[in-house]
């Protein structure tokens, strides 16, 4: 008994000690578990929270890289302006205006015979704001004959951007600039609980989960606008549970740091709206400009609905490529807006009947890449690359889109008017103000080699007006009526070799008046004058004009043995077309900050001190060249109205064919030749001049 009792006691004790042991064991596990959880929170959850907190701080403080925008010159309309109906239609189409047959609304125009009724879009210029306005213009004889108001500037065409490496095109706007229907409409479509949730909508998630479960696939997302913003900011491309968790926490934290108004503004400026080639369209302002060529505050109801609709899938609903799909999506959005009371039934009825109304300005081929090369070159010394790519500067240039279009067309017809074996380059600027209007670096639109800017070629007889000008400036008592000797001449050069220049016709005309020698481009007479001036003095004179002539010490410099690009030639001849006022062609007019404050205005270099009387004398000879000299075909064959001034240039065996000429308005330099510098059958008058004449006939 005692033994039994003993055993029972032992059993009891053993049971008790076992239960204590198991309690201890459980306690240990509990303790370990808590320790584990503590470790987890120290090691994982807290760092995760801190990380997401940091991420949301970054989102709040992040500054967008805003690309700088480059603009063409705005078209200035006024009575008396030279303007053809073709040029005006080109400009309006390029700016995304729509032609209509009834009274035009904003961004539309109507043509009746030669009268235009335009409802402009307006633009905030640095000096003043151009408000949207009805402009009535009558054109006759290639001019604006009547116009109300008396003067108006159309908005300038965007011709390029300076993007950061992300290639995102974006112009941030304040929420106040976005139509209210669009702001409310976005919430109605994307996140109806936006004003009530705290970053994550649990009811939305449940609703989406239920619908997805019923459908057996993902048919609805439960993301709020805040979550979508986070997703875009963090570039989350695929969904996973962890990512969703990240998003949810980040969205919740973001709601603590930003007001609802700030979140929706950030969303409108952040969201991806489509793709223009390599460049992605971000933000509502850029989307409005890309799809409708309008400011966001000018969007109509159906246009707003389309933009809100395609957020769901900018590629799937791409309105340019998937018109029907985009239209259905837009109408679906309009239905939602009507059902939620954002728009009235009447507004809905009118809106759903509208076509997509996309701008066609994207389809107009206008080559601005060559001009942008000049802009980049001239900006290099003025601005830092980082500022250009991030600060949203506005660069206003002198580019004339219509002249650029005609210049590109002329270049592209080189094969048709000359031969498929030669290349061409053309530079066009204002004759009197040296503003660069257009530039074409190749006959081939795909060519990346900008010959106008990069191809250094011998200029041949284009140098002659400068040799004669140097004579007038440096030789006492010399004028263009003086006699020169057009006779064979032998010159021993510095290296001991003999140089014997010849005339193009292999003849020598003997004693000849200086002006006639220039008009008929006589080589031997020009060398005679050059020797009187002296090589050193001529080099100094050319350097004074902005050239850097240090290498060439050979007397062949008198006949143009110097390599220049067409753009450099254009600089030089500006001296004549502007009557001594300019020797530098400028592409940039002025630059402003993103908020339109003026940053800088371009300045012309100080002009060389050359007598106007001497320049006028050379201009008289340049005029004679186009009427009875080497370029007389301009007047005789092409019948271009004068007065015209110009000079041909040809190098050995037609390797380079040049013509530079101007009228009262425009100066243009044309080069024709082969990239490998092999001979061509063209002289200045049979090659480059032909393109020049066609360009001026078509402008």
């Amino acid at each position: 008994m005692k033994l039994v009792g003993f055993y029972e006691v032992r059993k009891f004790v053993s049971r008790q000690s076992k239960s204590k042991a198991s309690q201890k064991k459980y306690g240990k596990w509990l303790y370990r578990g808590l320790l584990y959880l503590f470790g987890l929170s120290i090691g994982l959850i807290i760092p995760w929270f801190l990380y997401i907190n940091h991420v949301t701080n970054t989102i709040v403080s992040e500054q967008w890289d805003i690309p700088s925008v480059v603009y063409a010159r705005p078209l200035e309309l006024y009575a008396g302006k030279q303007l053809t109906p073709e040029a005006l239609v080109f400009e309006l189409d390029l700016l995304g205006y729509q032609e209509v047959s009834s009274t035009p609304k904003l961004g539309q125009y109507q043509i009746y015979q030669n009268s235009f009724d335009i409802y402009s879009k307006g633009f905030v210029f640095t000096d003043q704001t151009s408000s949207p306005k009805r402009i009535k213009i009558t054109l006759s004889d290639g001019k604006v004959s009547q116009m109300t108001p008396a003067i108006y500037r159309l908005e300038p065409k965007v011709i390029g951007h300076f993007f950061s490496s992300s290639l995102e095109s974006r112009q941030p706007v304040k929420i106040s600039a976005i139509p209210e229907t669009m702001v409310k409409g976005l919430q109605a479509v994307e996140d109806r609980d936006f004003n009530h949730h705290h970053g994550v909508s649990w009811t939305g998630i449940m609703r989406a989960a239920y619908k997805n479960l019923m459908a057996g696939e993902v048919v609805q997302g439960g993301s709020t606008i805040t979550q979508q913003l986070v997703k875009n900011k963090l570039h989350y491309n695929h969904n996973s549970f962890l990512r969703k968790l990240h998003e949810a926490l980040a969205a919740t934290l973001l709601e603590d740091k930003l007001s609802k108004k700030d979140i929706i503004e950030m969303y409108f400026n952040e969201i991806y709206w489509g793709q223009d080639g390599k460049v992605s369209i971000h933000g509502v302002a850029e989307a409005a400009s890309y799809y409708f060529a309008k400011d966001v505050n000018r969007l109509s109801l159906p246009e707003q609905a389309l933009l809100v609709g395609i957020i769901k899938g900018p590629s799937w609903y791409n309105p340019f490529r998937q018109k029907q799909r985009a239209l259905e999506r837009r109408n679906l959005v309009l239905n939602v807006w009507r059902d939620t009371g954002i728009i009235s039934s009447n507004q809905w009825q009118q809106a759903v009947q509208q076509p997509l109304g996309l701008t066609n300005h994207r389809t107009i081929k206008a080559e601005f890449a060559d001009y942008m090369d000049v802009v980049k070159m001239q900006l290099k010394s003025q601005l830092k690359q980082a500022d250009l790519k991030q600060k949203g500067l506005k660069i206003f240039t002198f580019l004339d889109p219509y002249i650029q279009y005609k210049t590109t067309q002329t270049s592209q017809k080189t094969s048709q008017w000359l031969s498929s074996e030669v290349e061409s380059a053309i530079v066009v600027s204002g004759a009197q103000n040296a503003e660069l209007k257009a530039i074409s670096g190749s006959k081939n639109a795909r060519s990346h080699y900008n010959r106008a800017l990069l191809a250094k070629r011998q200029i041949g007889s284009l140098i002659k007006p400068f040799v004669y000008l140097a004579g007038l400036e440096t030789l006492s008592g010399f004028d263009l009526q003086d006699q020169l000797q057009d006779e064979p001449v032998q010159i021993t050069t510095d290296d001991g070799s003999l140089w014997e220049p010849d005339n193009w016709d292999k003849q020598s005309w003997g004693t000849i008046e200086a002006k006639e020698a220039l008009v008929h481009s006589r080589n031997q007479a020009t060398v005679d004058l050059g020797l009187k001036v002296g090589l050193k003095k001529l080099i100094n004179f050319l350097n004074q004009l902005g050239l850097n002539v240090n290498r060439s010490r050979h007397p062949s410099l008198f006949l143009g043995a110097i390599d220049l690009t067409p753009f450099e030639v254009q600089h030089l001849f500006t001296l004549f077309s502007s009557r001594g006022q300019h020797t530098q062609v400028l592409a940039i007019n002025f630059i402003t900050h993103a908020d339109n404050r003026l940053l800088s205005r371009s300045k012309h270099q100080q002009k060389p001190a050359i007598g106007i009387a001497n320049i006028d004398l050379i201009n008289q000879a340049l005029y004679a060249i186009t009427t009875r000299g080497t370029a007389q075909s301009i007047s005789n064959k092409f019948n271009l109205p004068g007065p015209l001034f110009g000079k041909t240039g040809t190098t050995n065996a037609g390797r380079d064919s040049w013509f530079t000429g101007f009228n009262q308005d425009l100066l243009a330099t044309v080069w024709v030749g082969k990239d490998d510098n092999s001979p061509t059958p063209y002289s200045g008058s049979s090659g480059a001049l032909v393109l020049w004449a066609h360009l001026f006939m078509n402008l």
Partner: protein
């Protein structure tokens, strides 16, 4: 040594007072003195109406202290009529008001060389040139410009 420091300080004050020329008021110093009753017959230059409108706009902008905007407006006018001496002279005056003396000098010089040789624009150009030259310390150009002001006016023909 003390004397030298005093001298230097005195010199600095003296020089600074020399350079403290009051800002140029183009109405007081250029435009108003160039208007004469007995001047030659004024010829209204042939410019489009749009140019006149822009010059008036620029005038208002300048009066409101928006000289930068006024310059851009006159540049618009210049794009329409690049050879107009009247527009060029407005630009020269605005550059003068802005304190951009080099640009003012260049534009006024252009009007002097290629603009009218009689009348108000002629005189304004020479006055602008003289003031810009003064600010650029170009004494010779200033003297020449001042000398030539009288060439812009001639006594009115005697009436019988």
């Amino acid at each position: 040594m003390k004397f030298n420091i005093r001298l230097a300080v005195f010199g600095l004050i003296f020089l600074s007072s020399c350079s403290q020329r009051k800002p140029i008021d183009i109405n007081d110093e250029v435009r108003d003195p160039s208007e004469h009753e007995d001047s030659v017959i004024q010829i209204a230059p042939m410019v489009p109406e749009a140019v006149q409108i822009l010059l008036e706009e620029a005038e208002i902008q300048q009066q409101n202290g928006q000289v930068e905007a006024a310059i851009l407006t006159v540049k618009r006018a210049l794009s329409i009529s690049p050879a107009s001496a009247m527009v060029q002279q407005h630009l020269a005056e605005l550059y003068l008001a802005e304190g951009n003396y080099r640009e003012s000098f260049d534009w006024a010089n252009r009007v002097v060389n290629q603009g009218p040789s009689r009348g108000s624009i002629c005189e304004r150009a020479r006055r602008t040139l003289a003031l810009a030259a003064e600010m650029l310390n170009d004494v010779t150009a200033q003297a020449q410009a001042l000398e030539s002001i009288s060439d812009c006016t001639q006594p009115a023909p005697q009436r019988f």
